[in-house]
Amino acid sequence: MFDFLTHDMLAVIWFFLWCVIWGVYFIADSFSLGAGLLLPFIATDEVQRTQIQSSVGPFWGGNEVWLILAAGGTFAAFPLVFSKMFTFLYLPMMLLLIGLIARGISVEYLHKDENPRIQKAFAWGWFIGSLLISLVLGVAFANFFKGLEIASGGVYTGTLPGLFSPYALIGGVLFVFMSVTSGALWINVKTEGAIASKAGNLAKKSALIVFILSLVYLAYSFVGIEGFTTNYSATPALYLLPVLAVVGAVLSMFFAKKGRGFPAFCSNLLTLLFIVESGLASIYPYMLKSSISPDYGIDIFEAASSHMTLSIMLGGALVFVPIVIIYQLWAYTLFKEKIKET
């Protein structure tokens, strides 16, 4: 299969697919994460909590699979990157894992018991899980863009506190607020009553925060991060990515202010998607960039699997990813009605 493609070409195609899968994950999971981040603060009673739960309940599980696909795809297409990424960032990955488990269980078990204390515990479990997921991924991706401390011979010399540079922290907070905005607008669009308007009002503020943070983050990336501009100088068309991110943030602010939830929601997703892609575009051909010297980084050609594995996976992805996207979109049409206060 795909014998007309060289191994290097397949590696490049897989890098592109890898960027797409991560992008889809971030936008698909953002509103469930955001709903979790908001739940304990904006829902005043069981009715409102149930509204929020029902707004994301049918979708979150299927959406989270994009993360599993991103991990599994990395394992299959770039085993070396999979191994190093998880080994270097051992404790952050464990925190991410705990976050994923806490979130999943909390969404499903939220009101399985009548005891208000247990219900409250799960509401906070959903919050803490969502916070861990968005914060860890935000910090981790900022570090990927900045480069990890990989010394010669692929030896990792970084430390846990070393991951929390100002740049990574801005990245983490930005991801949290992009999720918050996404969640607030989703609740605004999908529910009716007090909770919908409360979420709509909140979205106005958080969209503004996303706009400011994304400007700061992008400016920092282009000015303060070594090697970030290399690919941009070589291929100026890439500048479209950060521009679209900013345009998304502006539109999201604009529509949120006008009270038009759905276009605001889509615009915010645009920002989220292109913040991620702007960074990924900067590290190519590296997947794990080294902040010590570019030579020490792990690039896609070194990490890629065999021609056979890459082509079988490509065939599988070309057939099944569209099918998955079609039935997931179809699932959204099954639950079109706004969720009432009952």
């Binding site: 696909l69 394992f75 999979f82 488990i101």
Partner: protein, 438 residues
């Protein structure tokens, strides 16, 4: 380094065993609930609706933990088994990615749809549950394909520098004989576990004097499945034992603690193996030639003894022997219980047979124990190999600070314990509160 390898193995053992507490019931109940949804859709009989509702509630609680605990395993291939991931990625990554693509998306997407679709859209609801059942059962094919390579590597060659395996034949991976033995064995035992759980829960209600149609009907379906699977498992297991003895002689010999090479090897009903002396300290009631028959297919068949195999490549014999014994003894008990259940039901004495009903309640954990024991035989029996004949377990780990692994073992174990307690509490509450009339 010894401690790091032990901790890494301990963490994987805990998380894999924990995950597999929830998987079998998911596999079995998904199919059953989907069937109940279909029956209700077809003939609008309220009993089917009540059954789908009740067993659906149990399914939901169980499914959630299975879903999230599966993530841990994927993560650990990178965090704790990085050297393994690099060695095996070319072959092991694709089944995992395909599993996500073909199975997890179906499960995840349609599980949400099934829960939130109401009975006014019964057709879609039924369809969704079938997709969940399809997804969960397809998932087992892919994960066992990945595991099958670790047990019996096929369709690969070593990279020129010997640093990793490279896939040469994807089709060979899927048609690996080991995969199909293990898949059928795993699925059958999952259905058996589901059947015994249903029988146990029904028994609880019969004992309380609640003989509602929901439980009666559930029981008669479950007892049939229990009997069919309980009988099929040892028949298949016999073939599997022969197959595995050819593939991995040490595992086969350890399953019955056969120390010396011989023909017409007896099987001892009472036996205590002792690895330090390389013999059995107790062996009584030998049935001549039975071990030869079980492991070679012929009563005069020759079995290579553990003492004649590479001594530095032997698995821990005691653990495998006792796990295997436990599994087979429990397996025999399942056949008796299922036969008895069918007889009592047909003769109409079931609802008054308090002793049998109590036995059924106490039997709920037994298939869980048997399945875990079976996995211990399969996975510990492969030691010291991580990938049989290609990579030793000790060479598969990530070099991460031992304190990090210690922390993660503690964190995950505590977290899992809380989850488990709460899950059992929720299922128990669901069962106790059900009247069969709602």
């Amino acid at each position: 380094m010894v401690e790091l390898i032990l901790l890494s193995r301990l963490q994987f053992a805990i998380t894999a065993a924990f995950h597999f507490i929830f998987v079998p019931l998911t596999l079995g109940l998904a199919l059953l609930v989907a069937s109940m949804e279909t029956m209700y859709y077809r003939n609008k009989d309220e009993t089917w609706r009540k059954m789908a509702d009740f067993w659906g509630r149990v399914f939901k609680i169980n499914f959630a933990v299975g879903l999230v605990s599966g993530l841990t395993l994927t993560f650990q291939f990178g965090t704790n088994w990085g050297a393994y991931a690099e060695f095996m990625g070319d072959v092991f990554g694709p089944p995992l990615a395909v599993e996500a693509l073909l199975a997890f998306f179906l499960e995840g997407t349609f599980f949400g749809a099934w829960i939130f679709l109401d009975r006014n859209r019964q057709k879609l609801k039924t369809f969704s549950m079938w997709m969940v059942a399809l997804g969960t059962n397809i998932s087992s094919l892919w994960i066992i394909t990945a595991n099958g390579f670790m047990q019996n590597p096929v369709g690969y060659e070593m990279a020129a520098d010997g640093s990793k395996v490279v896939m040469t034949d994807f089709f060979a991976l899927i048609t690996n004989g080991y995969v199909w033995y293990m898949l059928v064995h795993t699925l059958l035992s999952a259905y058996l576990l589901t059947a015994f759980l249903i029988m146990g829960i029904c028994a609880y209600h019969f004992l309380k004097g609640n003989n509602s149609k929901v439980f009666k009907k559930s029981f008669s379906i479950a007892v049939t499945i229990a009997l069919a699977t309980a009988v099929m498992l040892p028949v298949l297991g016999h073939g599997y034992a022969q197959y595995v003895t050819e593939l991995q002689p040490a595992k086969g010999a350890a399953m019955d603690a056969i120390w010396e090479t011989g023909s017409r090897v007896p099987m001892y009903l009472i036996q205590v193996p002792d690895s330090s002396t390389g013999s059995n300290s107790v062996q009584l009631l030998g049935i001549p030639g039975l071990a030869s028959f079980l492991y070679t297919g012929s009563f005069s068949g020759k079995i290579t003894g553990l003492n004649q195999l590479h001594q530095d490549e032997l698995p821990p014999v005691g653990m495998i022997f006792w796990s295997f014994r436990l599994m087979t003894v429990l397996g025999s008990l399942f056949i008796i219980e299922a036969l008895l259940g069918l007889y009592l039901q047909k003769s109409g004495k079931l609802y008054t047979s308090d002793k049998y009903l109590k036995l059924l309640i106490w039997s709920i954990p037994l298939p869980y124990i048997a399945i875990t024991a079976g996995w211990i035989v399969a996975e510990v029996g492969r030691q010291p190999w991580l990938v049989y004949g290609l990579l030793k377990t000790a060479n598969g780990i990530s070099s991460v600070p031992i304190s990090d692994v210690l922390l993660s073992v503690a964190l995950i174990s505590t977290f899992y314990l809380i989850l488990m307690v709460f899950e059992i509490y929720l299922i128990k509450k669901t069962v106790v509160n059900a009247t069969g009339a709602e």
